[in-house]
């Protein structure tokens, strides 16, 4: 797995931790380097100071050739603090580079060449002998486990010899490592605090991003309506991404709703065309057959058995005619404009049904003058909606009906508190035979829809538990007056 494929769930906390570790390492290194440089500088400064004062003390002794006093002088600094100072040996060289005296005479015997013992100090001796400078000289070479500070011993500018202070790098380094250890201890403790904190902050910071990613991931696999996301995440970049995504989700939802609506409308239109086509094709022979049956009944003098059969045929054909007529909402009828009384008639028609179920019936007819709409069609709409409502309500249920005229349209509103229309039902609500049940073939709403379409109107259904409402708007002033259509409603 590549790093770039790693989830931000881990990437951000890991980054936090990496940064913490790097900072701590950098700080530790800097402090350790500082400690080293300080220790080194202090050592050199101490050595030079010590060397100079010892050099001054040694001058008269060397002039007197007093080896014993010189010895007692050079062993003085190797007291109890020598371990701490890492000062291991002091060697006094004469001008020839021979050992004049040393704090450890067994290791550095008097009057021997410095280069002799172990043969290891040849380079040191060369370096010291070549230095004609009066300043102290630090010799630090990887060849030696020691650090040397060479201080010239001067008498009135004449060089009497050289004092070499020999420091153990091991002791010096162990002190340094001690300092580094302490620094690491402190920074380690800091890390123990920083790491969980970094992990927590990182996780917290990644959280909105992960949430958003999860939400976006649902698009396509789940319908837009079903995506449940809390996208109020502040106003930072992720927050803005979230609100933008929220807006896009809304648009997507609208688009999907619109698509569904269009699909339904298209389906209804297609069904309408097929139904009309079939009805039309059936209607012609049906008319002929009814004529033939009528002629036979009137002029044929059939025997009783034939008459009975013909009568059966006629009833069947009439039923076909009814159904076809319902599908074919184009039977044109002369129709007068809608009057308030037409609407009131609907109330009268329903009285029996209302009594049967003991319903609360709220009736608000606000029309007080004729409306220029074909009364037959409007009555058809109204009676179908009201009959559906009475079927939907239970006993002691409630039905409301409002009819009014407003801003150039006629408004019809029928509501009930019965069974509400489920989502799946709603999908096919206006299709013929979709809701066939014991009370009818399911052509009522189809008819209403067809009529509303023909009147260039609009029908809207709102249904929720406890209230289902059909609202119909029919524009006035159209040219419907001479295009009145009617259909029989089979209930």
């Amino acid at each position: 797995m590549k790093l770039r494929d790693l989830s931000y769930r881990y990437k951000i906390p890991i980054s936090f931790i990496l940064v913490s570790v790097l900072v701590v390492l950098a700080v530790s290194t800097t402090l350790a380097m500082q400690a080293y440089q300080n220790a080194h500088r202090d050592l050199i400064a101490n050595a030079e100071g010590l060397g100079k004062s010892l050099g001054r003390a040694l001058t008269p002794m060397i002039l007197r050739d007093d080896v014993w006093s010189a010895y007692q002088t050079v062993i003085t600094p190797l007291g109890a603090s020598a371990e701490e100072l890492a000062l291991r040996d002091l060697v006094v060289l004469d001008t020839q580079g021979r050992i004049y005296v040393a704090s450890d005479p067994r290791r550095f015997p008097v009057a021997r060449d410095l280069a002799t013992p172990g043969g290891g100090y040849n380079r040191l001796l060369n370096t010291v002998q070549q230095n004609r400078n009066d300043a102290a000289q630090v010799v630090e070479n990887e060849e030696y486990p020691e650090l040397f500070v060479a201080v010239p011993i001067l008498n009135d500018g004449d060089r009497l010899g050289t004092l070499i202070l020999i420091y153990s790098k091991a002791v010096f380094l162990s002190r340094l490592y001690g300092a580094i250890g302490r620094v690491l201890g402190i920074t380690g403790a800091l890390l123990v605090v920083l790491l969980p904190l970094g992990w927590y902050w990182g996780r917290r910071m990644a959280k909105p991003l992960l949430h958003l990613t999860e939400c976006v991931g649902q698009v396509g696999s789940v319908p837009a309506d079903a995506i449940e996301c809390n996208l109020d995440m502040g106003d930072d970049e992720i927050g803005r991404l979230g609100s933008r995504f929220k807006a896009m989700l809304e648009q997507l939802k609208e688009k999907q709703a619109l698509e569904r609506e269009m699909a339904r409308a298209n389906r209804l239109a297609a069904i309408g065309r097929i139904a009309a086509g079939i009805a039309h094709e059936v209607n012609n022979p049906l008319g002929g057959m009814l004529n033939a049956v009528s002629t036979l009944k009137r002029h044929g003098h059939p025997d009783p058995f034939t008459a009975k059969t013909v009568s059966l045929l006629e009833r069947g054909l009439l039923q076909i005619k009814d159904i076809v007529g319902a599908l074919l909402v184009e039977a044109r009828l002369e129709s007068h404009p809608l009057t308030p009384q037409d609407v009131e008639d609907m109330r009268t028609l329903l009285t029996a049904d209302i009594r049967g179920k003991i319903l609360h019936f709220s009736w608000k007819n606000r029309l007080n003058e004729p409306v220029p709409l074909p009364s037959t069609l409007v009555r058809q709409i109204l009676i179908n909606l009201l009959l559906n409502a009475t079927q939907a309500v239970r006993e002691h249920g409630r039905i409301e009906c409002r009819v009014w005229r407003e801003s150039g349209s006629l408004w019809l509103e029928v509501a009930n508190d019965g069974r509400h229309i489920g989502e799946r039902q709603m999908e096919h609500l206006f299709e013929p035979f979709a809701e066939a049940h014991e009370h009818g073939a399911g052509l009522g709403l189809w008819l209403v829809h067809q009529i509303v379409q023909q009147l260039n109107g609009n029908i809207r259904v709102e249904s929720m538990p406890g209230r289902t409402q059909f609202s119909v708007t029919l524009p006035l002033g159209g040219d419907h007056a001479d295009q009145l259509e009617i259909a029989t409603v089979p209930h």
Partner: protein, 281 residues
Amino acid sequence: MTSRFWLIPGFVLLLGFAPGVQAEPPLRIGTTAVFLDDQVDFLSAWQEYLEQRLGRQVIFVRRGNYGEINDLLQRDQLEFAWTCGYPYVHYKSRLRLLAVPVFNGKPLYQSYLIVPQTDTHTRDYSDLKGTVFAYSDPNSNSGWLVPQYELYKRGIVSVAFFRKFFFTWAHRKVVEAVAAGLADAGAVDSYVWETLALQRPELTSKTRVVYKSAWYGFPPFVARRTVSATDFKRVQQVLLNMNQDPQGRALLKRLNLDGFVAGNDDLFASIASNMRQLGAQ
């Protein structure tokens, strides 16, 4: 140590004004660091002892080497001195032998040749070619003249016989230099080495005595010839009688000495002979 050192003049000052002390000038006794631990303590105890016996104020004048004591004697700055047989013989015309300490029953001592304990091969002076040698004092018999004579006896006259030699200005420091390995060998007073062996065995155990010289007269107490016979006699008597009373014996015990004898110049004849042979007269 410094503060205790200053105690002496302070003490002397108090004594000077103390009632009952005579107005006679104090007796000044020069000494070097021949002896051992607790020098200041010991000297003040000895001083008190002598003052009680003499009824005179006594001052011990300490110096770092025999040379300085000799100078003070020459310049009449001291009445008496505990010095070495070699300077006594050298300046005999101006000095009188006062008393000779008795060490292990004899007023005699030797010069020891010592080497570090780690050195197991050296047996004699002749094995010391190319070594670093520690003498105590150029005015010391056991620490300079005797080793010179021993070398001379062996026909070693070259200055380059030793790789290097130096003076420690005290016998005890010769032992320390050899013990530390600063010197490969050294010549030391047998009295000092033996006494150190009792008091500081951990120091002497780092050295090994490889050669003991002939017997020589023990470093004596001497008097300036100008010192009055009375004073000479009184001081000599006190010293000779030190082992007669418990106080004196206690002091002698601290010095690891048996007592004092008057002695005579025969004790120092061999030193004089060595000096003549070496031409060091």
